[in-house]
């Protein structure tokens, strides 16, 4: 018997990962991250329900808090990026790299 809750979580996580790797717009990247966080929450709840314990839901609550904080900071950073570079292209902010000496 397939644990459908976990399956849903797996599918949503993969979709979020694909979106994270493929999109260049920083907003869409943050959206994909949200999708992934949400999917882990679903997994937690499914598991907690299976064990008949509230711990799964408690985990999801904490994930919610983390997502909220992260989104706030992330969007503030997106605004800064747009202000500095006039674009929301993620690849524009690639200055932390090893520069060739030659």
């Amino acid at each position: 018997m397939m644990p459908w809750g976990l399956a849903l979580a797996a599918v949503l996580f993969s979709l979020g990962l694909a979106g994270l790797l493929a999109r260049r717009n920083l907003l869409l990247v943050l959206v994909s991250i949200e999708v992934m966080l949400n999917s882990t929450g679903v997994a937690f709840i499914a598991a907690g329900s299976g064990w008949n314990q509230p711990d799964g839901q408690v985990m999801f609550l904490f994930i919610l808090a983390v997502a909220a904080a992260e989104v706030a900071v992330g969007l503030a950073l997106t605004l800064q990026l747009h202000h500095q570079y006039e674009t929301v292209d993620m690849d524009a902010a690639a200055q932390l790299r090893d520069r060739e000496e030659e």
Binding site: A18, R23, A47, S49, L64, A72
Partner: protein, 174 residues
Amino acid sequence: MPVLFAIAALIAIVATALAITRLDAVHALLYLVVSLLAVALALFALGAPYLAALEVIIYAGAILVLFVFVTMMLNLGKAGRRQERAWQPGRSWIGPGVLAALLLIELAGILLRAPPRLPVHTIGPEAVGQSLLGPYVVGVELASMLLLAGLVAAYHLGRGLVAKQNTKMKAGAR
């Protein structure tokens, strides 16, 4: 119950897939809202009514609204859509698609190899509340501190921008 779960899951998957492939940021966000509502239904079907409500209120109702506000502030518009088209040719999905598919296959494999028995129990708000104020009270305090940190950071990072916006608006008004 299982039927509800199946429908909700399907909608969630389709909506998510659409959300990550839109060219317009606002469209993507709206699809994501739909996806989150569907996930809330799925959570309800999994026996977590309290969290389902919280999903709608906090996730879709606060976090995504914040997203929408910021997107509208950025005001990318038609130029944004054109840009997205340039950035996202069809072949840019191949690599990520492969990686995501690999991960999905592995997870499916793990699940199918020794499928755990997961019966669905409904756990009401009282149990969750008691758990939060009991064993997980430290976690709650930490979460509140985290939210405070996020608040301070967002305020600090956004400070100069607001002043600039104000001067721009004032200049525009004249």
